[in-house]
């Protein structure tokens, strides 16, 4: 009898404690980030797919098609083509094909690059309707980005990381200032 009464008492008390805890949580502010309306700040070492880096002085890609990244890639997803433009000292890249369907974001290409010509982009809104959407030409992407972000005749500023999404991805136009959530 004593044991049973104690069990009822202890059990009931634990229920009350539980209900108090949930009620406390009820009146605390929510912690949700309303994703399309607000976004978290992307961590600085975020690994998106790779992208070409522009030379801030000329506005052209730094890459001169040495193909070290192509060789470094373990999954064989990079194809670089370059051509020598008349008068230029180095070759310059004409095509930089990235097959993102095979890429595992290992970063060997970025490590292999001697001149810092490629880096991880901060693109994460990747969605496409076909597999081909993810075979992208980074050189064309860079040129398109230059056309879109800079007014004609303007100096080539430092390339802004997340600009034009690759073909097929739905452009997220609701980019409010990213709310930082601890």
């Amino acid at each position: 009898m004593k044991h049973a009464l104690k069990e009822i008492y202890v059990g009931f008390k634990s229920l009350v404690v539980g209900m108090r805890i949930t009620l406390e949580q009820f009146f605390k502010p929510t912690v949700t980030v309303h994703y399309p309306h607000e976004t978290l700040k992307i961590p600085p070492r975020f690994r998106g797919h790779i992208e070409l880096v522009r030379d801030p002085a000329t506005g052209k890609p730094i890459c001169y098609a040495c193909k070290l990244c192509e060789k470094a890639c373990p999954s064989d997803c990079i194809t670089v083509e370059g051509a020598k433009v008349d008068g230029a000292k180095k070759r310059s890249v004409t095509q930089y094909r990235l097959d993102f369907t095979k890429c595992s974001l290992c970063g060997s290409c970025v490590e292999a690059c001697r001149d810092g010509a490629i880096r991880f982009s901060r693109e994460y809104n990747l969605a496409g309707l076909s597999k081909e959407d993810f075979v992208m030409d980074l050189f064309k992407r860079l040129e398109q980005e230059a056309r879109e972000t800079e007014p004609p005749g303007g100096g080539a500023g430092p390339a802004q990381p997340p600009a034009a999404p690759p073909a097929g991805s739905t452009a997220e136009k609701v980019e409010k200032p990213a709310t930082e959530v601890k």
Binding site: A4, L15, G18, M19, T22, F26, P29, V31, H34
Partner: protein, 329 residues
């Protein structure tokens, strides 16, 4: 105020149907918002202001779905089960006194009528599960019956205690007896029976079990039984079950308000009775939601142990105690 019989009937039907429908819809919203807040989420926000149009969107979705009657089911029972669950809940609301003068019917055996209709609820879920010809649904049907039989007993013992104390089964009369300050409410009348708050707790727990609410939602244990007795139902067949569940919660909370919390009586003597009734009722509804998002589902033997080993002895004891108190004082 006296009004003609046909008009009274029409008013009751329109009023109760819209009240139950709107409440079922918006209690889902309350449930989802509450669930969100208890888990530090905002709950529905996208459809309308604060997600207020969400129930309407849900209703349109359910209405536009096909009502599938699977092969091999008992068609008549399968179709009748949702209605059998909804109709008793609506019928029971006939006798609830919303205020001094607002009740569809002032019946002398109102309490008896509510419990008579309340038992049909169990049969409806059982029939739904049985006629579905689905293993999960049948397990659920068996659970519902044993659970509801187990919890009907302490519930009725508590109600008998209340009838002994109040001496009437007329709900309006029961409320009238609780006039005055807070301490005239049945739940606080400890001089009549020192275990009155315990009686209320037992009533509330049994109400949760009877309406198959968490932590006693064995009938619809999603993680074990898909959707329990409702597994084979689609579209509005499921929707009606869902609405009936909320209608039953509403009825249970209304009954708790009438029996224990002084119904439409105002503790401070201001504002109309309807306001106080709805306030008390919705506070109980909120508690139901609060409990759902606090406690995990009990195991089945825990559920039956609680009823047979704790609730029934304690409610029997309160029954005997209040009998003895009434005899002595």
């Amino acid at each position: 105020m006296e009004i003609g019989e046909p008009l009274r009937l029409v008013l009751f039907l329109v009023g109760i149907l819209s009240f139950v429908g709107l409440n079922a819809a918006y209690l889902v919203w309350v449930e989802r918002k509450g669930a969100g807040r208890f888990q530090r989420r905002p709950g529905p926000t996208e459809v309308g202001y604060a997600g207020l149009l969400q129930p309407i969107a849900d209703a349109i979705k359910l209405l536009s779905k096909q009502l599938i009657v699977p092969a091999g089911v008992d068609r008549t029972l399968f179709r009748a089960a949702p209605l059998l669950m909804m109709a008793p809940a609506m019928m029971s609301l006939v006798v609830i006194p919303w205020s001094e003068s607002l009740a569809a019917r002032n019946i002398n055996v109102g309490l008896l009528m509510i419990f008579a209709f309340g038992s049909i609820n169990v049969m409806a879920i059982m029939l739904g599960g049985w006629s579905s010809r689905n293993k999960y649904a049948i397990i659920s049907a068996a659970r519902v019956v044993s659970q509801n039989v187990a919890y009907e007993i302490p519930m009725l013992l508590v109600v008998i205690t209340m009838i002994m104390i109040t001496g009437t089964m007329n709900l309006n009369e029961i409320v009238r007896q609780q006039a005055g300050s807070l301490f005239h409410w049945n739940v606080f009348r400890v001089w009549v029976n020192p275990l009155m708050p315990v009686t209320f707790l037992i009533f509330f727990i049994c109400m949760l079990a009877e309406t198959n609410r968490a932590p006693f939602d064995m009938a619809e244990a999603e993680s074990e039984l898909v959707a329990g007795a409702y597994t084979e139902y689609s579209g509005m067949g499921f929707g009606v079950f869902f609405m009936a569940e909320y209608a039953n919660i509403l009825l249970g909370c209304a009954l708790g308000t009438v029996l224990f919390l002084g119904g439409w009586q105002s503790p401070i003597g201001v504002w109309p009775g309807v306001f106080w009734f709805l306030l008390k009722m919705y506070l109980l509804v909120f508690t139901v939601v609060w409990i759902r998002w606090t406690f995990p589902r009990t195991q089945f033997y825990g559920l039956l142990n609680l009823s047979w080993k704790i609730l029934i002895p304690v409610s029997l004891f309160t029954l005997i105690l209040s009998g003895a108190m009434m005899k002595l004082f």
